[in-house]
Symmetry: C2
Subunit: 391 residues, 2 copies
């Protein structure tokens, strides 16, 4: 038996305890909890088969009461001694996609982002469309191309047409971008025709991840009317390997910035607020270029879930939904390079070079932290991706 | 042993042999092939475990060569005597959703439909947007709400705002509609960054189904800018229980109506055409109201698949993609009531009543047939759905 050391100030203290899927040496992938710089093998430590699975889905499907109970068990476990064989150093394991993604929906919940994109894509119109403050606008993305942090992203090819071109051409995207987001993972779904009330968020959503919704702006701009983004986004969406339990985010809850004009329809009115005080940091080739503040988001994840199911749509264990790009009011808080460089017209300096969109070999790392119950900050880890040349 | 009788002119003759998933009495769902008015239990008849599964996915994942071989085996089987216990009357079995849907994408491949909808939704602009003839426009839908024919559809509620309203209101959709489509089922996918060439369609797509993309036009019209349809469609998509093998559709192949102005980019150019001469019939409460002709579709399913993966997006066994509403040039060939009644302004007579959109209790049945190799017509069966009142 060994005691797990937690370095002072670790973002993976006992008030975090995020879940992931790891493999050590030649063992099959299985569920682990991160504590400090260690991973606890839950199947070995708790002796339950549900944690020997290659995704979190079987455990998540057991429901809210189990999530609470297991969190208590793990808290007790890591406070004492843990069986030797159940503890691995994070640096010695491989981290895998933690969930089997059912449906993937991406929202558009930052007023600053939606306004910036509106100004860039539709310069002659009101930046915010009439529906935007009445409902959390979102669309379905490609569940099959959600990948775990560290997966390289091959530059996508596709059709692009600049406004000055007479016809579209085919080739590698030259406006490859990121979108820094949070993603929310549904633990237990609902059948058809059983909408999830906005206040039931905590009973259905298991946890949150960092999410990078890679976006080929040139492909997107040409294809997106009238049915929304498709190929401009569907090539890859990266998520962080550690799923931070919603139960760990109680101390991060804050009011939303404001929804008084207009007031949302009753099905979107929260009793307790689910604004979240999560700070993201975007690094481009190792240089910090932005600090997107989640607290600025107009719509809460509880409102997104209520909206997504209000028409009777069912939801499933493993459903993943993104917040949409997180952008604050300041330039240095924008979560997409499209906004940060104003459509490429105002390049920024990265490692001494003028840059607008992603070049081959570039690496983007998004990290995030939030207030934890212990008075310090808990971490989301990172979502990392490097651009490989088009094939 | 018994010989299976096939009634004269049956759309389920030996040149069809569609696959589905059925259960008899209290047995677990398993794979069957429809022959005449019978279902052959493939696990029982061929003694292979892959057919004892509750979806076609394990069999589809075995790949093209196996699809060819099993079709030969089944053809030989039904030409002779089949073990008694392996044959059920269709009327005695329950039919289930035949596939575990991975990602669901819906295209918009009918020029007549896209033009009609453009005129209705954007009356002051060109009906066809500039990208439409350059690429098959499509979007991701909700895989989790794909249901099998016969599943009742509860009228969805959501936000609607008529142009004359000052603010949106919440309530049951009052413009509930259908979209008569074909759906294509991916049998074997591809990893990331391995686009499927347009001519490899037949090696990746296992079969086709009838698809009804139920659409709440009032919800859709309010929500769809700028990211496309979401709640207006995500409550239900119905498919027929029988998956007609692409191998059975060779005799239905025809040229596309024309793609010379503009010519598609090289990655969309087919060597052999995958236009399909499938005739659909739409019945509303038992009265035929439309005959959508698939031969009029601008983009082929092979082009849709090539486009969907050209950016490096992976594809998976069980991916489903819809053609989009099938509408021909004539009024009686329109595959959505939105078009058939011109936005509700030109009601049609159904069973003696003036009707525009769906009322509670209405039932819609879409059937389809195509030329078969035997000189007659093969059938897709039907996709049926009844509207229940909003909850």
């Amino acid at each position: 038996m060994i005691a797990i050391e937690i370095p002072d100030g670790s973002p993976f203290g006992v008030d975090n305890l995020p879940y992931g899927v790891f493999s050590a040496a030649r063992d099959a992938p299985r569920v682990g909890v991160r504590v400090g710089d260690s991973v606890v093998d839950l199947a070995a430590a708790l002796g339950e088969e549900v944690f020997a699975a290659p995704t979190l889905n079987p455990f998540m499907a057991q429901g809210y009461d189990r999530w609470v109970r297991v969190r208590e068990q793990v808290t007790a476990l890591v406070a004492g001694d843990v069986p030797d064989g159940a503890v691995h150093a994070v640096r010695d394991v491989t981290l895998h996609l933690p969930i089997d993604v059912a449906d993937y929906v991406d929202f558009y919940a930052s007023e600053h982002h939606a306004s910036n994109v509106g100004r860039l894509f539709r310069p002659d119109a009101e930046p915010l469309l009439p529906n935007w403050k009445h409902l959390p606008v979102g669309y379905h993305g490609r569940a099959g191309t959600v990948v775990v942090s560290g997966t390289d992203v091959v530059r996508p090819s596709g059709q692009r047409k600049a406004p000055t071109d007479t016809a579209p051409s085919f080739g590698p995207s030259v406006r490859l971008d990121i979108e820094a987001e949070l993603g929310f993972v549904v633990g237990t779904g609902t059948p058809l025709n059983a909408p999830i009330p906005v206040d039931d968020f905590v009973r259905h959503v298991f946890g949150a991840v960092l999410l990078n919704d890679w976006s080929a702006r040139d492909i997107q701009a040409w294809e997106y009317v009238p049915l929304g983004p498709n190929l401009g986004k569907s090539f890859a969406t990266s998520i962080s390997p550690w799923v931070v339990p919603i139960l760990a985010l109680e101390a991060a809850r804050i009011p939303l910035p404001g929804q008084s004009d207009p007031e949302p329809l009753p099905y979107l009115r929260e009793t307790g607020p689910w604004g979240l005080d999560v700070d993201l940091v975007v690094e481009w080739n190792g240089e910090e270029v932005s600090r997107p503040p989640y607290r600025e988001m107009y719509w809460s994840p509880a409102q997104m879930l209520a909206h997504m199911t209000v028409n009777g749509a069912s939801s499933r264990t493993g459903d993943l939904y993104g917040s949409g790009t997180i952008s604050g009011p300041e330039k240095g808080q924008r979560g997409a390079f499209l906004e940060l460089t104003w459509g490429g017209k105002e390049p920024i300096t990265v490692k001494g070079e003028e840059r607008s969109f992603l070049l081959d070999g570039d690496e983007v790392v998004i990290t995030g932290t939030a207030p934890g119950a212990g008075g310090g900050r808990i971490g989301f880890g990172e979502v990392r991706g490097r651009i490989l040349p088009a094939r």
